[in-house]
Amino acid sequence: MAVIINKDTRVVVQGITGSQGQFHTGQMLAFGTQVVGGVNFDKAGQEVHGVPVYATMSEAVERGGANASIMFVPAPGAKDAAYEAIHAGIKVLVLIPEHVPTQETMEIMQYARQHGCRVVGPNTFGLISPGENAKMGIMPNHIYKPGPVGIVARSGTLSYEIAFTLSNNNLGQTTVIGMGGDRVIGTNFVDALELFNADDATEAIVMVGEIGGIQEELAAEYIKQHVRKPVVAYLAGKAAPAGKRMGHAGAIIEGNRGTYQSKVDALSAAGVKVAALPWEVAELVKESLK
């Protein structure tokens, strides 16, 4: 069991012929993902790791039977490519690129909403369901294993660190969702919590948050009202000063919004166990599953 993607997910790679697209197509195939096609208008007819390259998304859907897309198109082309995917009927769209102008992300989100397409990202490391051999992302294959923990994270490497510790403690994952580091993203903590809460195989949920925005606070609100499964969180940015953007567009403390303490307070009040250090997460999950 898993959320969003599973063994039936038929993935197309937008921008498959670029260096990132090629590399990660290979990695996704190695993980066992059904990659049914790639898209590049000018390179249609070629193959990448044995995967056919189509000219357009509608061909990838019609001829390749794709129902999900992962995008490695550079930011300036992201809106066009996203609309193409949604227009072609794609229902799960993973936006890897960073630096997509926010107003364009907003347009993508509205178009996706109107067409019932789930968007993950942009500026995400993607998502992976280890027990389903399904991966749409850029995370390293070897750190995950099947198991009962759902992870949702704003940042990539930090979540890798935590997932790896979990796996080493024999706490495998149903699905790991990379939310993305931008201000506007398709799937946020609340969305992920809702999915994990409804997923029978998920027994505990790990949130990897960070300073900036109010997503963790809203998640706390949601957990208080709806989630009866144990939730463990780690939040990055305790040591970060206000007013400085820490890499991610969303990771900036503005006014009195988005501080480390407000997030810890909100989550703790909702019954979430907040780890002070990354490697404490595994211990807290283990305890909560007893």
Binding site: Q103, L158, V184
Partner: protein, 373 residues
């Protein structure tokens, strides 16, 4: 990227928002000439920090000679760390009432957000929520006059002033869309001329960095320190901090987490540096080199090898060590893809490498300050 007030007003005026028609000047003589055209004026320092009025960056002048004098006081002055090299000569307005209006990006609603208030002239953070009108714009549909009218009415504008407000807000929105802004703010939107005319008395306009590639028309205003500019030029996310242990990690979350862990053990981070996922040897070496040049008490490298290959990070570090030498304590924590090889390489070059993040953090604190964390 923030635009100076005069540029912000230029963007707004282009879209039909009345702005008073101020003139930007770089010398006291220009200010004198401008004041001759404009009449009694305010001489306003063009800086990108708030609170310039209280800091002496805005002064009134009733004659061209006064304008020249005030301009020569303000030009060259240091305002919160920034040197003033431009002033705006703006007409003095007789203000009956001050309104607030802005458009920002609402990340949660995933839509542009208009905020307006009849309690303008002060920072919006200090205005009670129930005195602010909030309205989202359907970004596909755009902003239509009816929505502007609704907002106008809620902040107490009717008749011709409501029509003026529709024009102001429509102009703001069009500019917001055209220039990929993340903030367009008029504060105060001043009611002048005996209550008959709305004028943008001050304006802020922040263009989103990620959209600057579409707007070569904007002069680049780089707000960072020299070191920040240098590291950003390599293409990496970098923020200078107050401490003395230089930090390099891969990934923004990991970099933040590293600062936290370091602080947890009593270390004082000198910077935030996201060395990227899967960067090559060369940029990593350059970034490392830049850190070294700040003469920190120690350097802490924390790598989780996912896409990043640990052996390549080791190669970059060794390259710097061989070419320039590393004369401060260096602690590396390295796990993940090719980590065994990476640690071996470092060991061969005499560099300590750990697998546990906490252990490594304690080690670097001890190396920097000479005592246990």
């Amino acid at each position: 990227m923030k635009l100076y007030e005069y540029l912000a007003k230029q963007m707004l005026a282009e879209h039909g928002v009345p702005t008073g028609g101020g003139i930007v000047c770089e010398t006291p003589e220009q200010a004198e000439a401008a004041a001759r055209k404009i009449g009694p004026c305010a001489v306003k320092a063009q800086v990108l920090v708030g609170g310039r009025g209280k800091a002496g960056g805005i002064k009134l002048a009733n004659t061209p000679a006064e304008a020249k004098a005030r301009a020569s006081e303000i030009l060259g002055m240091n305002l919160k760390g920034y040197t003033v090299d431009k002033v705006l000569i703006d007409p003095q307005l007789t203000i009956e009432k001050e309104f607030y209006v802005s458009i920002t990006l609402d990340g949660m609603a995933k839509l542009p957000l208009i905020m307006a208030s009849a309690a303008g002239g002060v920072e919006i953070e200090s205005v009670p929520h129930d005195q602010i009108v909030f309205a989202h714009v359907d970004i596909t549909t755009g902003l239509l006059p009816f929505q502007c009218r609704e907002i106008a009415r809620k902040i107490g504008l009717t008749g011709d002033l409501a029509k003026q407000f529709v024009k102001v807000l429509t102009g703001m929105y069009n500019a917001f869309r055209k220039y990929d802004a993340e903030l367009v703010e008029i504060n105060p939107l001043a009611l002048t001329d005996n209550g008959t005319r709305l004028v943008a008395a001050d304006g802020r306009f922040n263009v989103e960095d990620d959209a600057l590639f579409r707007h070569p028309e904007f002069p680049t205003v780089d707000e960072g320190t020299e070191l920040e500019k240098k590291v950003k030029a390599i293409g990496l996310a970098f923020v200078q901090l107050d401490g003395d242990i230089a930090v390099m990690a891969n990934g923004a979350g990991m970099a933040m987490g590293t600062l936290d862990v370091l602080s947890h053990y009593g270390g004082r981070p000198a910077n935030f540096l996201d060395a990227g996922g899967g960067s090559g040897v060369e940029p990593t070496a350059q970034a490392f080199d830049a850190l070294l040049a700040t003469s920190p008490k120690a350097i802490f490298v924390n790598i989780f090898g996912g896409i990043t290959r640990c052996d390549l990070v080791s190669e970059a570090i060794i390259q710097v060590k061989q070419s320039k030498g590393i004369n401060v304590p260096l602690v590396v924590r390295m796990v993940g893809t090719n980590d065994v090889r990476g640690r071996e390489m470092l060991a061969e070059s005499g560099i300590e490498a750990y697998t546990e993040m906490g252990e490594a953090a304690r080690a670097v604190v001890k190396a920097a300050y000479g005592k246990e964390a």
